[in-house]
Structures are given as C-alpha cells and as structure tokens.
Symmetry: C2
Subunit: 216 residues, 2 copies
C-alpha cells in the first residue's frame, strides 16, 4: 500500500473522527481513490464514491485537487514512485551483474502491473492524468531514468547521444510494457497459463523474453 505520509500532519492522529475539518484529507482522498480504483476499475471510477469512502462531502475533493483529473494525476504520480519501489525490491534479490539488474526492473514492472492493474492503466494508457503536471512528470521521468541507466550499463553507450542505444531502450521498454499490458488484460494467461506455474518458472519464462530486445 502507498504510504501517503499520513503522520506528517500534527492533527492527523484524530483524522478519522467526524470533525468538520478532516485535517489530512489530501492523502486520505488519495488512499480512498486507490482503493476505489482497485475495487471498481478505472472505467467506473467515481469522484463522489471516493469522497464518500473518505467520509467527506462530494465537493471536498475539489478543494484539494481541483477536479477529477487533478486527483487522478496525483494518484498516477504516486504510482510511478511505487513502481520504482517494486523494481528496486526485485533488484535487491537479483544477482548484482548488469544484465540481471536490467532484467530485475523488467520483472518489477510486470509485478507492479499485476498487483495494480487499474493503476497501471491509469498511468500508462489513460488520458485522464495531466502529463504536464510537475509531480507526474518528475515521478514518471524517474522511473524511465532507471531503465535508461541500466540499458546504458548493459550496452555501454549513452542513449541520449547514441541512437543505437536509444533504440535498445525503446525496444526494452516496448517489450516489458507490452508483456505487462497483455498479461493484465488476460491475453497471455490463455496462452501460457502463467498463474498456474510456480513463481520461479514464470520468472524464467519472462526473463527469457525480456532478454530478447537487448543485443548480445
């Protein structure tokens, strides 16, 4: 679950009670929104349902996030931070060599998508978030930066100055992104039955596939 920094506000301790001023509503709304998203999916997402879940009136979210787009933008930005965290968890348990580390962030990308399908779609395949938002841009760029960094280590060239290396970045990203997107739409399951396999076998198959876009 997302941390949401609920302990930062001095009045947050009694935040759940029915006071007129919630005291920490911003993070509380984000938490409620994520739960709604996870339970009902992106398509039937409702701002009023989020407000109700957080125990406030339907107009309250507007004061913190402007409109629905604002709330979803903030949520997507947090999503990128969490994506990075999941990738780093995979890196920590992976072998330290460059290739294993690159594969690890790919496996983390898929892990994240499977664990948070609606959030993943919101982040990557939705027009709802405002991509020019500062927090969104910063977090998504940080996630992309991890990929660039590890591809650069792998191929030994800076993607921003070497077109071939950038092509390697794009190929790696497209592969892992397509894999994740097809998995969480259920299209791979029908073909390979990944969910029936033990984790290490699934990882082996995905690793094989994730290695392909990288020149050897």
């Amino acid at each position: 679950m997302i941390h949401f920094m609920t302990a930062s506000s001095p009045s947050a301790s009694r935040a759940a009670s029915k006071r007129y001023h919630h005291g920490d509503l911003g993070p509380a709304l984000l938490k409620a929104a994520e739960e709604e998203l996870a339970e009902n999916g992106t398509e039937s997402f409702s701002l009023r349902a989020v407000a109700k879940r957080a125990g406030v009136s339907h107009g309250a979210p507007a004061h913190h996030f402007g409109d629905a787009k604002g709330l979803l933008t903030a949520l997507a930005a947090i999503g990128y931070d969490r994506l990075i965290a999941v990738q780093e968890a995979r890196q920590a348990t992976a072998a330290p060599d460059k290739t294993s580390q690159l594969i690890a962030i790919g496996l983390g990308y898929v892990d994240f998508g499977i664990a948070n399908p609606a959030l993943f779609r919101l982040m990557f395949s939705s027009e709802k978030p405002d991509r020019s938002d500062e927090a969104f841009a910063a977090s998504s760029l940080a996630a992309f930066g991890k990929l660039v960094e590890l591809v650069q280590a792998e191929v030994g060239a800076d993607p921003y100055s070497d077109a071939a290396a950038m092509k390697d970045v794009v190929a790696s990203w497209a592969m892992v992104h397509g894999l994740a997107d097809l998995i969480l739409s259920g299209r791979i399951e029908r073909l390979m039955g990944l969910s029936q396999l033990p984790q290490d076998e699934t990882d082996a198959i995905l690793t094989d596939i994730l290695l392909r876009p990288i020149p050897r």
Copy 2:
C-alpha cells in the same frame, strides 16, 4: 474508414432523411460511434452524443445493441477486422519471404494503432467490450491467428504444441503491442521523433526492433 455495409439494405438509400424508421440504424450508429471515438477519445465517450450524431433519439441505440457495452463490443469487433485489413495491406507491399511477412503484420499493427488510437485502446486496454461476445471473440481470434501462423512459418514449429514456439508468439506480440501502445501515448515520440522521419526510415527502425523477439 469502416465500410459498415450500408449499401446492403434496400431502404438505406434514403437513410439520412428524417423518417421515423431509420432503416439501417445499426451500422449508422457504429459509424457515428467510431467518429465520436476518434474525435473525443474513449474516456469522454457518450452514448447520447452518438445517437445525436446519427440523428436519432437517445434511446434508439439500446434497441440495437442493448447498452453501451454492446455498442462498444460491436465496434471493437469491427476494429479487429480492420486491423487485419491494415496488416494485409502491409503484407501486400512487403517482400514475400517469411520474415518480411511477419514483420509486415507488425508494421500493420503499429499503422493501425497510430491511425485509430482510441479504437486501439478500446480493443486492447479497455474493460468496456464484452470479450465473451461471439463476434468480438471471432474477430480478435482471427487477428491473433495471423500472428500465430506467421510465427509458426518463421520458427518451424506449431505454437499450440511447442512451448518454445508459443514463447516466440508471446514475445513477438508483446513487442509489437508495447511498441504501438507507447507510440500512441506519445512516449516514443519524445525519445526518437519518429513523426519527423520519412516513412522508410521509421519502418527501418521499427523493423529492427520487431526482429528482436524472434530467435535467429
């Protein structure tokens, strides 16, 4: 544009006039829906706007498609037929060898996505269409069948009986799907400026990437 078979009905010639019975409303609604989708995107899609565009009352679509899900399911099914057509157009202008033909359907997949971003998202990244619908299942399976067939020709093994070949299918699909999805969300453009390049250079880059998932 989709054909929609408007000439098949005997009364379709005066279909545009203000008669009480439209005479060919099903196809007309699909056409209107596609236009709405192309202009406004998937997210702000409105059934009432589709009805208005087709010149009928807001309740009319229900009689032909049941509900919004039904209309979008039918539209997505047609989308798969068109995807196949775009892929076959690419095949027709490609070299006849097996590898070129496989790459051709990949380029067609990307072509289709760029030309119809909202429809692409509806087909692949939306929960709105009913995947158990017969027409949807048939058309999407036909599109997938093309991929299976060409991968089988390329690697010389039947994916349905050979796990390694199925892995090649999954890898190929994931690559082209991820590539298309990232391109139409604008994420590749920022990195490689594909739209600035002449078509043959873009094709060369995409071909390079699309070749990678296939074992050599």
